[in-house]
């Protein structure tokens, strides 16, 4: 162990900084959580106080459960996020494999073309996308959202994954070819497990913006049966009156699944990193 790491002052400073950052990052979440369990009056009187016997109230959660089909919204958000992530990772990894593995005419141009999407925000095309969805009859379906998010996520996914795939040993892939594995088996069995940390990174990068997005659900799928969680929560925010209890409760519930997904992916990320280190 090196001396810098063993030094107690350094250790203290390092952990101090990390703890401070954790507190700052968790503070808004904490405030949302505690206030979601308080009465409306107490939210405004003492926003930072913990709920006690007097101020405790589940009224927000009751409103959320009663008004609107919260579980449907939840399910919609979940389907859209998981569906988009699956497609982004699958197609992103396949495109990245082709770009990094095969020599073909226009390989470089194709790579640049696919990376171009990183620089152009997809929202610029909102009107055209809406027209397209209307003419294909996809408006107010979850597929509209999944397709748009997949398009939005692919450029970065291809870019990151192709960089990582270039680092996968050629010998390993060639050994597979000599042993008679198909290109698909080589891709799924040999290459994907080795780029798992990169896949987890791409998944985390894409997951949060998709889960939190309000723009596309509002424009492409505002119908009751396709509302996502973020859009569903908006019913509690009015121009004149906002039901803060309900908003905070809805937000608290919305945080949970993201936390679960994040935990899964970050564990993959860490496992990927360590398995690479011992090889």
């Amino acid at each position: 162990m090196n001396s810098a790491r063993a030094n107690p002052i350094n250790t203290f400073a390092m952990h101090g900084a990390l703890i401070l950052y954790t507190l700052i990052a968790l503070f808004p979440v904490f405030v949302i959580l505690i206030n979601s369990f308080k009465t409306r009056k107490m939210i405004f009187r003492e926003p930072l106080a913990l709920p006690d016997a007097e101020s405790f109230s589940m009224v927000g959660y009751q409103t959320v459960m009663k008004q609107g089909d919260f579980f449907l919204y939840f399910q919609n958000s979940f389907l859209v996020t998981v569906g988009s992530l699956t497609l982004i990772l699958l197609f992103g990894a396949m495109a990245a494999f082709a770009l990094s593995e095969y020599r073909f005419r226009g390989n470089m141009l194709m790579g640049l073309y696919l990376a171009l999407g990183i620089m152009i925000p997809i929202r610029i095309g909102t009107v055209a996308i809406l027209e397209m969805m209307v003419s294909t009859g996809l408006v107010n379906t979850l597929w509209a959202l999944i397709l748009v998010y997949t398009a939005q996520g692919l450029p970065l996914a291809v870019f990151i994954l192709s960089e990582f795939m270039r680092q996968v040993s050629d010998d390993l892939k060639n050994a597979g070819r000599i042993d008679g594995l198909s290109e698909y088996t080589i891709f799924f069995k040999l290459v994907l497990p080795l780029v798992r940390p990169a896949m987890a990174t791409v998944a985390v990068f894409n997951m949060i913006p998709i889960w939190n997005d309000l723009w596309f659900p509002l424009i492409l799928a505002p119908a009751e049966e396709t509302k996502t969680l973020t859009l569903g929560s908006q019913v509690f925010i009015g121009q004149f009156v906002t039901d803060w209890n309900a908003v905070l409760s809805a937000l608290s519930l919305a945080i949970l699944p993201v936390l679960v997904l994040y935990t899964i992916f970050s564990r993959q990320l860490i496992r990927g990193i360590t398995s690479g280190a011992v090889k």
Binding site: D171, L172, N174, A175, R177, I178, D179, G180, P193, S275
Partner: protein, 331 residues
């Protein structure tokens, strides 16, 4: 019977011409070593034979059959890679069995062949381990085992020893030589190390810049090099090259003398000053300066020579080689 025939094989990557008109014939049971400096195309040549690269033109036959269009897994070859290239998610047994499973061999055959190979390579105790739990030498043995189980027509080795440390390299070299004797299989071995080439090969193919410089048995190449490149590449320490007119015979060409063909002599033709002396116990290597040219002298046994000492050297009878300005050998 010929195990492998290459006829006018060319390979280009875009505008870069990597292999130029390669013609090689390998007989069954032969151990052939491709040797050359890095970037000479020897690995590309091996990968072409394996089918991992297409040939641009020319014909490639394995056991008499043209295999230009045959995918690697159908060519009857097995390859051992420098980086071992073991499948990280499979244990030793499955690493070896994978190719046979892909070829839809019966369970009994697979088991028997894996058992046979692991006995040969003393891997029996490690069959359930994963590659990450093995040492470098064991991993290389698994890689060799993976080749053996396939009973290939042709073994291809791509610098299999370069990732091993010196002691292990020597042991594994012996193991490979033994394996060749036991199996009697045709093996093609790529290396940049001339010692490996000299010790293992029945036949050496010296390559430079994508061209075959010379083909022959190790001793043929050593005693009768076709050109200055081959002469300088094989042998350690390397052959000395001097302007022949240092001997005052008016010859405009280059003189080549192997370090062991020089000897100390009072009336020797070459006047040199020793610069550095390496005492190896069995041998003594003297690096000396001869009119501004470096010359290496290898003496057997131990000699008390100091740096800065003046020496006269003689050249053993019939052991001088002459090369013209282009490097071709003059008889």
């Amino acid at each position: 019977m010929t195990a492998l025939t290459l006829t006018n094989v060319n390979k280009s990557f875009g505008t870069v011409h990597v292999l130029k008109d390669i013609n090689i014939e390998v007989n069954e049971g032969e151990f052939v070593v491709f040797v050359g400096p890095s970037g000479c195309g020897k690995s590309t040549l091996l990968r072409t034979i394996a089918g991992l690269e297409d040939v641009t033109s020319g014909e490639l036959r394995i056991a008499g059959e043209v295999v230009n269009q045959t995918p690697p897994s159908k060519r009857g070859i097995a390859m051992v890679f420098q980086s071992y290239a073991l499948y990280p998610h499979l244990n030793v047994r499955n690493n070896m069995a994978l190719a046979l499973k892909q070829a839809k061999e019966s369970k009994e055959t697979i088991e028997a062949r894996v058992a046979e190979a692991s006995r040969m390579l003393s891997l029996t105790d490690y069959l359930d381990r994963f590659p990450s739990e093995l040492s470098g030498g064991q991993r290389q043995r698994v890689a060799i085992g993976r080749a053996i189980v396939r009973h290939p027509k042709l073994f291809l080795f791509d610098e299999p020893l370069s990732n091993l440390d010196a002691a292990l390299r020597m042991n594994t070299r012996l193991e490979i030589a033994n394996l060749h004797q036991q199996l009697g299989a045709t093996m093609i071995y790529v290396t940049h190390d001339q010692t490996e080439a000299m010790t293992l090969a029945d036949k050496i193919v010296v390559l430079r810049d994508g061209r075959v410089e010379q083909i022959g048995s190790p001793m043929e190449l050593y005693n009768n090099p076709a050109n200055q490149f081959v002469a300088g590449f094989l042998g350690s320490p390397a052959m000395n090259f001097l302007p022949a007119n240092l001997l005052q015979d008016g010859n405009p060409n280059t003189l080549g003398v192997r370090p062991e063909d020089l000897f100390l002599s009072e009336d020797g033709l070459l006047q040199v000053t020793s610069k550095h002396v390496e005492h190896l116990g069995g041998d003594t290597n003297v690096i000396a300066d001869c009119h501004g040219h470096q010359i290496t002298l290898r003496l057997f046994g131990q000699h008390a020579i100091d740096a800065g000492q003046s020496l006269r050297l003689g050249i053993a009878e019939g052991k001088s080689y002459y090369f013209d300005a282009a490097g071709a050998r003059l008889s």
